[in-house]
Point group: C2
Chain length 388, copies 2
C-alpha cells in the first residue's frame, strides 16, 4: 500500500476566543500548518474539515467552501465531515483515503469549532444532538449524564474508584500545565477534583472537559510528494481504523467497554502490523475522566477493568510505561468538539518529530490517537510513526 505522511501541523490556542470568529480560527490553524510544512498553498489539492455543529453554534453550515475561500485555496474540493466529537478524525481519515485513492497528492485536514457564541440555547443543548434525539436528548439527558451512567457501571463492575477517576484529570492537567496552547494550563490536585461541584453523580466539574473555541490543521502528502518538503521529518500514517456503535446507550451490548473503539483499533493495529505493545504514546478522548479509563482498556494498554489502577499506578504519566495525553488531553487543552481529532494528530506529530520542548516524551517513535464521537457511537483510531 502507498504511504501517506503528515508534513505540517498548526493549532490555534484553545480558549474562549471572544475576538475571533469560526472563520478566523480555521484560517489561523490552516496558515500555521501551511507555514510549518513549507508548502506553497497552490500545491494543496483538497481540503477536509471536521466540524460538529456550526449550524447551531454560529448559524453557518457549508463550512468546507468557506474555509477554502478564507484560506485562499479556491477552487479546490472542500468537504466537511461530521460525527459529533469525532468529526475531525473523520476529516483526517477522508484526507488520508483521498491520497491513497490517487485523486490527490497534497491535502489539508482541519477541525474547527466555535462554541461560545451561542444565542438562544446552551452549548450543552446543541451538543445533545450528538446523542439519540428520540431516546436520549428529548428525555432530558445530557452528555455528562450519559457518561455518568457509564462511570457508575464501571465502578460497580470493576471497583473503579472515585480517586482513580480524579487521577485522570490530575495527570492530564500536569501535562497540560506545560502546553501554551491549552485552555487551562495549570496543575490540579486530587483534592480539587474531589471537592469540585457535582455535575452528574459521580462525575464532578473537574472530570469534565470544557466548552472551547479552537481549530487545528495538518497537511498530508503522498510519499512521493512528501520528499519535496524538508522542514521536518515526515510522520507516517501506519494505520487508520473507524467503527460505529448505536447512539443510544440502551442499545449497546456493553456499558463497560466501547465496542466501536475496540473495532476501530483492531483495524488500525492490523493495518499497521502492530499491537498495543508497539505504541509509545497515546492521545485519547478524555471528554470525561471515565472515557480515558475506558480507552486505556479498550485500546489494549491494560486488561478490561484494570484501567483505574493503571492510572493510579502512574503508568500513564509522561515517564510511565504508556504515556497518555502527554500534552494535556481534552481536559486541560480544551475540547472544541470538531477540532479535537486533528489537534490530537498535530500533538502526536510534534511528539514523534522529537521537538516538543518541555512537553517532549523522549524516544517516542510510534503514537496512537483515539477520537470518540458522542457517548461512543463513533471511534476513530490512527497510528503514526516516525522513521527517524
Amino acid at each position: 500500500m502507498k504511504r501517506v505522511a503528515v508534513i505540517g501541523i498548526g493549532q490555534t490556542k484553545f480558549d474562549e476566543h471572544w475576538s475571533k470568529s469560526l472563520r478566523d480560527l480555521s484560517t489561523e490553524a490552516g496558515s500555521l500548518a501551511v507555514h510549518d510544512a513549507g508548502v506553497n498553498p497552490k500545491e494543496i489539492k483538497a481540503l477536509f474539515i471536521g466540524n460538529m455543529s456550526a449550524g447551531r453554534f454560529v448559524s453557518q453550515e457549508h463550512l468546507s467552501s468557506l474555509a477554502a475561500d478564507q484560506s485562499g485555496l479556491l477552487p479546490i474540493p472542500a468537504t466537511r465531515c461530521e460525527a459529533a466529537c469525532a468529526s475531525s478524525a473523520l476529516a483526517f481519515r477522508q484526507a488520508y483515503m483521498s491520497i491513497l485513492s490517487g485523486q490527490h497528492d497534497i491535502v489539508v485536514a482541519a477541525g474547527a469549532e466555535k462554541m461560545t457564541d451561542m444565542r438562544g440555547e446552551s452549548a450543552s443543548a446543541a451538543l445533545m444532538a450528538a446523542a439519540d434525539q428520540e431516546w436520549e436528548s428529548a428525555m432530558g439527558l445530557t452528555f455528562v449524564g450519559l457518561y455518568a451512567l457509564l462511570t457508575q457501571a464501571h465502578m460497580q463492575r470493576f471497583g473503579t474508584t472515585r480517586e482513580q477517576l480524579a487521577l485522570v484529570s490530575v495527570n492530564n492537567h500536569r501535562n497540560g500545565a506545560l502546553n501554551e496552547k491549552a485552555q487551562f494550563p495549570f496543575e490540579i490536585t486530587i483534592e480539587q477534583v474531589l471537592k469540585s461541584p457535582m455535575i452528574a453523580d459521580p462525575l464532578r466539574l473537574l472530570d469534565c472537559s470544557p466548552i472551547t473555541d479552537g481549530a487545528a490543521a495538518v497537511i498530508l502528502a503522498s510519499e512521493e510528494a512528501a520528499k519535496k518538503f524538508d522542514n521536518h521529518n515526515p510522520i507516517w500514517i501506519e494505520g487508520s481504523g473507524q467503527a460505529s456503535d448505536s447512539l443510544a446507550l440502551h442499545d449497546r451490548q456493553s456499558l463497560t467497554e466501547m465496542l466501536a473503539t475496540k473495532a476501530a483499533v483492531k483495524t488500525a493495529y492490523e493495518q499497521a502490523g502492530m499491537g498495543p505493545k508497539s505504541i509509545d504514546i497515546a492521545e485519547v478522548h478524555d471528554c470525561f475522566s471515565i472515557n480515558e479509563i475506558l480507552a486505556i482498556e479498550d485500546l489494549g494498554f491494560c486488561r478490561k477493568g484494570e484501567g483505574g489502577s493503571f492510572v493510579e499506578q502512574g503508568r500513564i504519566a509522561r515517564n510511565g510505561e504508556m504515556p497518555v495525553n502527554t500534552t494535556g488531553g481534552l481536559k486541560s487543552i480544551g475540547h472544541p468538539v470538531g477540532a479535537t481529532g486533528v489537534r490530537q494528530i498535530a500533538d502526536l506529530v510534534k511528539q514523534l518529530r522529537g521537538d516538543y520542548g518541555s512537553l517532549q516524551v523522549r524516544g517516542a517513535r510510534t503514537g496512537l490517537a483515539l477520537n470518540v464521537g458522542g457517548s461512543g457511537a463513533t471511534a476513530v483510531v490512527h497510528i503514526l510513526r516516525s522513521d527517524g
Copy 2:
C-alpha cells in the same frame, strides 16, 4: 486506475412524510438499495451519508452511526458529509474514493433530509446557514433572493427571458409527471409558471424547488467485487470532480457563470476522457430555474449565454439532443437537500441500465450528474457509463 461501479440503488418517495422520521427514511432507502444490488448487508464495509442540517431540522447530528445502526450495519465506519445541497454527492465521492483507496470494496452512499419537522424557525431560515452567515444570511437574504440576483444578471447580460426560465420548470414537470417517486408528479404550463406568485423578482413560485422529505442510497463496489452481483449491469463511475467557490456572491468573479461547476466538470471530463459531446443524459441542479440554465452552459452543453434559447428550442427535452433532468429534476421530484445528490446518481443509474419504463431515454449509455451546494460555492460532478 481501478474501476468502481454502482451495483444497487434505492429511493423513498420524495414527499412531505408526516408519518416517517429521518431514520425511517434513511433506512428505507438503504434497504431498497441493498435489495436492488442483491448484496448481503454483512458485505457492506462502510457507510457515507450526506445530510445538510438535521441538527437544525430535527435536532439530530451524528447521523452517520445512527444510520449504520438503524440499518443493521454496525460496527462499520459511518461518515456524514455536508456541503449544503451538495452533501450527498460528496458522500458518494468519498465512498468512491474509499474504494479507490483500497480501504473498502463494497460501501453504501446515501443522502437524507427531513425538512418538514421544523420547530421554532422556518426551513428557509435553516437553509440560509448554507450561505455566508456574516455577509448574506444575517442581512436577511434568502436563497431565492440570492438566485434572483443571479437571474437578473443573466437576463441583463444575455437577454435570457422570463419565458425561457419558465420552460425549465415546464420541461422538468413534463418528465416528473411520469415519476412515481416525485413529490409533484404532474405537468405544468408556461402560463401557470408566469402567473404563479412572485417570490423574489423575477423568480416565481414555480421556478423554485420545494421543501421535501426523502432519502436515496446507492451501493458501490470495486470492479472485482462487482463481478459477484448479477442483478443488474454494473454502472461505472468514469469521472468525479468537485470544486469550491466563495459562499458570498459579492466575492465571486462572475455572477453569470458558476466557476465551481466549470472547475468540477473539467476534472470529471479529464478523468473520464470525455467532453460534453459524449454525454447522453444529464441530471443537473435546478433548485431554481436559473440554475438549470447556468448548468447547461457551464457543463458545456451549449455556449455561455445561450442556455435560455437551448431550453426554448426543446433541446433538453427527453427526445432532444441533450436530455436534461429526464426524471423530473429537483422542481418536480422535490429537493430534500441532503438527499438530492444521491437521488441524481440513482436516477442516472436506472436510465443507464435501460430499465426505467416510461421514463426511459432510449440508448442512453453515458450520464452526468451535477449537484450544487448553496448559491454555487460547492459543485460536484460525476460521469457514469454503462458497458452494456
